[in-house]
Symmetry: C2
Subunit: 456 residues, 2 copies
């Protein structure tokens, strides 16, 4: 007889994962290597170590170790806000009148308001271990910057954050949270870096982009003694750290004999999606189980559904290594009327390869429908979701409504990456009925893709 | 041998309380009765039923039933965000280098950001059960209004919130959260009520007060068919609902053989303090255990430490019953430079009686020291606390530092009532160094107390 499934499953401390999972080790087709933009040859750990901490550079290129021990100090920090609960969305199921069983892994119960803290503490830890003074980074919606500020405060590391200008202006309170944790926050593009000044000269009045903030943070890291750059998404190392989401979710499912049919995650750079699905993907790759994986992205920034699988720059300033990924071009900046996050032009190379291999499907959704789903979810499940997370909610609801039509009793699992407390400007637009949708034209995307680096 | 105590104790569903606890049943000296302001005679359930739902009016006056069954629908809602964890503050202990053991009961893991949801769902439930159309209320910092909006959305009840004007202006995002949950929010004092118009005429430019917002909400409830008024603090019924905090905390302590010596709660109207301490107080009253209880209030609104124990109006408009309580006078409004919440002029009559009987002690603290404690806590424990909650943190730290001096291994338990995500205007002032303290003069307090109602 199966155990009674509680409304919320919290794993016991003894059941928590002690290792991260590296899905690349189980992939037959490995992601294409990162390339040095000057030589177009695969980057080495040594080369990456100028930008990243050495240990993280190793994790970035690691294709052989499926499991990586989580250092004790990180496990201790995880205990402060983990385990994250796996929640049965009984109230949503009832409201939708669906035979589907809906579960969500909720990562918002911490001050950063999202899953970002899982990788922030890991990256800060390795920086501290290496004896560095501090780290630099970019932040878009602000969750990553907040997470990094928290991790740095905990470890007594300096933290310099370049915040995408439109978020800096729309989310002054995010800035104050970071400052409360002792971080230094600069709106990007800024005149504090060469690349920032160049972008400002070329595009005066730009509201910024993640790609551009990345360039500034990388420059700031390489020009200061004792600093390295850290990044909250896209990278393989981030997917490794974020595997804690999927590992916990899988342990909770196994404990109660829950077998998800469909696993849904929102996808910007791929950190949450990759983290949530990778342990399940490992089972699929090893032939132990099968799942349908759905990546959900905004229609305004549709890298998987309308981008090209090609080598591209990870940043607008073209200072980072080249990555083969689904991309809209490193110059692509979604319209400022897009409030729903997930604004990055590319996608994790690991997620991109899995998608190209047909192991993941993808959908793009309009932001007004995303906020409507968010509100519906908030009213019945109580949690006010982040706009990013709400992309997954929207598709989870769509899937559950399909089950209502077909009568299928599917088990749906989605990632609820965070809370929307700092997104009330966007919610206000939705509440006022002034929110609109933005879908880039084929011409806009083609124009941006025409600037992909030549790879002959 | 005692069990290993986890970092965070989450009770199992089967261990969750199924009944609330009513401390009045165990009090030898009962709180003085609420009086009808016209007749100066104890109010009856029938009289209270014009303002409150009948079931809540009964709870308000109940002095005999120590335990009250929690209706199943409320238990279901509690499952959405409860149990709240009891957390061992290992990192804070380490940072303070204290031999004290510090625990906190964290009530912030829900969208209202505080413990207020515990009573909001109860009050909304009884309103729905009575067949009402909706409820009216006031909110100060906004947690209560948000909580009520969430509960009303869940039960499909109309929700009208009068929000203290200074909070309405400092916290526009709170308003949007409430609107997202479908509530109607009006800044108070407003011209939508008679009492609001009167206050505006007398004090043009006032930033409002809880007492004044209460008056408006009560008027709105009594003038609309099918509406009742609900209140988030002060009342006996609220303390009954909030006993869930203390009952869970006590169950978690008992499970792991944790014996608190000192129990600390912030005190505005008394909802959190009363809820946290009442089950422990029950044990003390019954001679089963002993604890030191500390109520912490802001120096700018020191009802327990500098107020008078007397009958007073619960609201500025003098429409509510008279309550005997520690009060600064119903016309007392703390300076607008006070950002730390807990602005109510009086104190729960139950808490007041316990304090008058010497069963609780009280301290008042300056807001700059409160924010410094908040920041210290945030950096090591990860949670960004609400200013209100941080009053308890401040005194918990003080007590732990005393233990450091004496070498005493005290066990300290405090209530961490909520998160500060919507208090970043106040945090910004603290970060910028522009926050100041306000301590009312003896003359100010005497002037306000001179207007207490005549009780001959």
């Amino acid at each position: 007889m199966s155990k009674t499934i509680p409304y919320k499953i919290y794993l016991e401390e003894s059941e928590l994962p002690k290792q991260w999972y590296n899905v690349k080790a189980d992939m037959k087709n490995k992601p294409a290597p990162l390339l040095n933009p000057a030589t177009k040859k695969p980057v080495t750990v040594e080369e990456l170590s100028h930008v990243f901490c050495t240990e993280l550079a190793k994790q970035e290129l690691d294709e052989t170790n499926a499991y990586i021990d989580i250092p004790q100090k990180i496990l201790d920090f995880y205990k402060m806000y983990r385990p994250a609960p796996l929640v049965r969305a009984y109230c949503l199921e009832k409201a939708l009148d669906t035979p589907a069983k809906i579960y969500y892994k909720f990562e918002g119960n911490n001050t950063s308001g999202s899953h970002k803290l899982n990788s922030a503490i890991a990256q800060a830890y390795y920086a501290k271990q290496q004896g560095l003074k501090g780290v630099t980074t970019e932040t878009g919606a602000g969750q990553w910057g907040t997470a990094l500020s928290m991790a740095c405060a905990y470890l007594d590391l300096d933290c310099q954050v370049y915040m995408v200008k439109c978020s800096y202006e729309q989310k002054p309170f995010r800035r104050e949270v970071m400052r409360t944790y002792g971080a230094n926050v600069t709106p990007s593009p800024s005149d504090t870096t060469e690349v920032g000044r160049k972008i400002l000269a070329e595009f005066p009045g730009t509201t910024g982009s993640l790609g551009c903030a990345i360039s500034e943070a990388v420059e700031a890291a390489t020009k200061q003694e004792g600093y390295r750059y850290v990044l909250g998404s896209v990278l393989n190392q981030v997917l490794i750290h974020q595997s804690i989401i999927g590992l916990e979710a899988m342990a909770a499912c196994d404990k109660y004999d829950i077998k998800p049919d469909t696993i849904i995650g929102c996808a910007g750079g791929g950190s949450n999606l990759g983290g949530l699905i990778s342990p399940f993907m490992g089972r699929k790759l090893r032939g132990e189980a099968d799942y349908e994986f759905i990546a959900v992205e905004p229609m305004s920034c549709p890298s998987l559904t309308r981008g090209k699988y090609a080598y591209d720059f990870c940043d607008t300033g073209k200072v980072c290594p080249l990555a083969k990924m689904y991309t809209l071009g490193s110059g692509f900046i979604p319209s400022a009327n897009h409030a729903g996050g997930l604004r990055y032009h590319g996608m994790s190379s690991t997620v991109s390869q899995l998608y190209d291999d047909g192991l993941i499907t993808a959908r793009s959704v309009e932001q007004t429908s995303v906020f409507a789903a968010a509100q519906q979810f908030a009213k019945v499940e109580g949690i006010l979701p982040a706009p990013e997370s709400s992309h997954a909610i929207k598709v989870a609801i769509d899937e559950a409504l399909k089950c209502k039509e077909t009568g299928e009793e599917k088990t749906i699992l989605f990632g609820l990456t965070g809370t929307g407390y700092f997104d009330m400007v966007a919610y206000q637009r939705f509440n006022d009925g002034t929110m609109s949708d933005y879908i880039p034209t084929d011409e806009e995307i083609a124009k941006s893709l025409a600037k992909l680096p030549k790879m002959d």
